[in-house]
Amino acid sequence: MEIAIKNSPEKLFIATEKQTGKAFAKRFLTSLITLFLLVSLIFVFVRLSPGDPTKKYVSAQLSPELSQKISEKFMLDKPVIEQYFAFLLNSVKGDLGVSYNFRQPVMKVVWEYFSFTLVFSTLSIFLQIIFSFSLAIFVARRKNTFLNKAVSDFSLFIYSIPSFVLGVFLIYLFSVVLNLFPISGLKSLDYDSFSFWGKILDQAWHLALPLITLSAAGTAMFYKYIKEGMDDVLHQSYILNLRSSGVKEKVILKKHVIPNAISPLISVAGIELGVLLGGALITEVIFSLPGMGRLTVNSILTRDYPLIIGCVLTAGIVMIIANYLADIIKIKFDKRLLKGLLN
């Protein structure tokens, strides 16, 4: 099957399925190289940092046998080049040493905490898209009104609020003054005595403030992009043509404006995930949630080096995967981008 896309009046770009596959493979290779560079960069940083680099994997808290095992695995008594290859190999195997605090393999600890961050971020990104979209549509119907301008200004204001200020403010307002929501944590003390639905309600009750904190800035950003996209489309002549043909405003919005305005949203979503991971780091610290961000900060404050490396590596891998997926989805929507990838 051949898909023909009119790129510019002179050139016609035709993407075959084979080419599509090639482009995706190329993009995948780029991701792999990025990953390799990330691992190398982490190794370089660990080696360059002050203090004995071998002490970054082995701590006095570990038993002598375990220390022996780890230093053999990371070849800590060998030259730097061999250490580097050992580090690469171990990273590929998913073996990053033993955490000092948890006395468990790093990947096991990270995985435990990562699942929470994943659910938390996914919930947040859904909320962001739903809210910003409905807000943009709501505003698009009320063009040139006070409300339109007010919402735009307010979104810039919300975007300027740092997540930790917003989080602490929400805690103060809803937990301290109004006493409506819990101040921190994920579960109530008597969590185990609840029924199934009670447990879900309890978790939702605890997650309400963190989700607002994490989603506010992203919602404002998405809103801005969607609004700009919509304004752009609404100025096009084909919309004027539709209007003059007597098509209902609702139909124009649903069938013509929204599908065309959606593409910037997807390209931002990949970048947004990085922002989200960073935001989750701070939000989890504010509300003491058991996620990867708080794990990272705690491991830094207690100088648990293997765990820090594990967390940073995991965050990097998640980000690279997210960027890859975002690019793939982007291409699915807009085949013209294939050309840029193939060159």
Partner: protein, 427 residues
């Protein structure tokens, strides 16, 4: 003609306000300055010895403050931005820069000063306590050196002063009785500093309250502004240098450099920067300069992309080719031919970068990884405020508001400048 408020009017107002409210501090600083000048001629080596960062800071601020009107009159033709119309975000930005320069004049308190915790701990805004001054050993025949030292200690306040006692209330009869919470203490009159035969008792107002160590929140906020802006400017300058140079190399030379640098940029863009920052700070330790360097290194990518794109597009233009054929060096090409052309988009980018850096610094300090342990910082103030959220709302409210207003001012100024440079955006 309609009168329009300009930035210069706002600055004049700030200048006059400082003179009205802080004239005592100004006089003290002036006498310190003259004392130092005298010492400089009398005892040169001592003058060099006594020179500290704080003294330089005070004297520089004072000099700028005194000579500001003269500077304005000399440079009023060049500083055309001062004639710009005033709006909320410009007013805020200029206020911040004002605080950055004149922090020691705005408040003469030491932001680390803490004494008599029982009295000064967690005081709400606008509360006041009494200050008792203990008498010092009086020396009648003083050398120039000792006189200056005494004046220095009085004016540039140290972080600890054993001659001051904070008290809730004071009763003066034959002896002086003062109360610190439930504790009652007594002092003889001759132990205290006297003024007209009576003990010299002052009221100390804490404008924005105090924190958990009894430190003045207002002073901490002012000096925190300084740290935030300093980190912001430092990191932005570093990003600017890295971005411009790498972008120029990539765009101008093309080929393998271009490919490698592009890949490198994409690598930096494609992982969560905050985790990388955190890793570097964890491994290398966090000081003021390591925070600036790390934030500077993590922000140059968008600048690189802008510069590279622009350089590629103007590489074939006639003016650049002719400049090359005269035999200008590459650095001259960059500074004289390319930079003026691409300055507009770069400035807009720098303003947004500035707000990002300030946010990142505050976030790091909030997490306990930034400069907050060593210097007063907004993020660290919010962090300690969260611990006392049930008792002390002011510990969060003021630094939080300062941070939000700063970011809002930077963001909306960036948008304004963008609109001026690209009028097509403003449809």
């Amino acid at each position: 003609m309609k009168f329009k408020l300009k930035i210069i009017h706002w600055l004049t107002l700030l200048w006059l306000l400082l003179i009205v409210f802080q004239h005592e501090v100004l006089f003290q600083y002036l006498s310190l300055w003259f004392g130092y000048a005298k010492l400089f001629f009398v005892d040169f080596s001592e003058a060099i010895d006594v020179l500290s960062l704080k003294l330089v800071n005070v004297i520089l601020s004072l000099k700028l403050f005194v000579f500001l009107p003269a500077l304005y009159i000399i440079f009023r033709k060049k500083w055309i931005f001062l004639q710009g119309n005033l709006n909320f975000s410009y007013a805020l930005l200029s206020l911040l820069i004002w605080i950055l320069i004149f922090a020691p004049i705005i408040t003469d308190e030491n932001p680390e000063f803490s004494k008599n915790l029982a009295v000064t701990k967690l005081l709400p805004p606008f509360s006041s306590v009494k200050i008792l001054h203990l008498a010092g050993e009086l020396e009648s025949s003083q050398s120039e050196k000792e006189k200056f030292h005494m004046r220095l200690n009085q004016t540039v306040k140290p972080a600890f002063n054993e001659r001051i006692i904070f008290a809730d209330s004071v009763i003066v009869s034959e002896s002086v009785v003062y109360f610190q919470k439930t504790q009652k203490s007594e002092l003889q009159k001759n132990e205290l500093l006297l003024k007209n035969g009576e003990p010299f008792i002052q009221n100390k107002y804490f404008l924005l309250g105090t924190d958990e160590y009894g430190r003045d929140s207002f002073a901490r906020l002012i000096y925190g502004t300084r740290i935030s802006l300093f980190v912001g400017f430092g990191a932005v300058v570093l990003s600017f240098i890295i971005g411009i140079i790498l972008g120029f190399i990539a765009g101008y030379s093309g080929g393998i450099f271009d490919t490698v640098l592009n890949r490198f940029t994409e690598l930096f863009l494609s992982f969560p920067v905050i985790y990388l920052i955190v890793l570097i700070l964890a491994l290398f330790g966090s000081s003021l300069f390591s925070v600036i360097i790390v934030l500077g290194i993590s922000g140059w990518m968008t600048l690189f992309k802008i510069v590279r794109g622009e350089v590629v597009s103007i590489k074939q233009r006639d003016f650049l080719i002719s400049a090359e054929s005269i035999g200008l060096k590459k650095s001259q090409l960059l500074a004289k031919e390319i930079l003026p052309v691409i300055l507009a988009p770069v400035i807009v980018n720098l303003v947004f970068l500035f707000s990002n850096v300030i946010l990142a610094e505050a976030a790091l300090s909030y997490l306990g990884l930034g400069t907050g342990n060593l210097y007063p910082s907004w993020g660290a103030m919010i962090n300690s405020g969260q611990e006392y959220i049930y008792k002390a709302w002011w510990m969060i409210a003021f630094p939080g508001a300062a941070l939000i207003l700063t970011l809002f001012a930077a963001n909306s100024s960036g948008r304004r400048i963008n609109k001026i440079i690209n009028p097509r955006l403003d449809k």
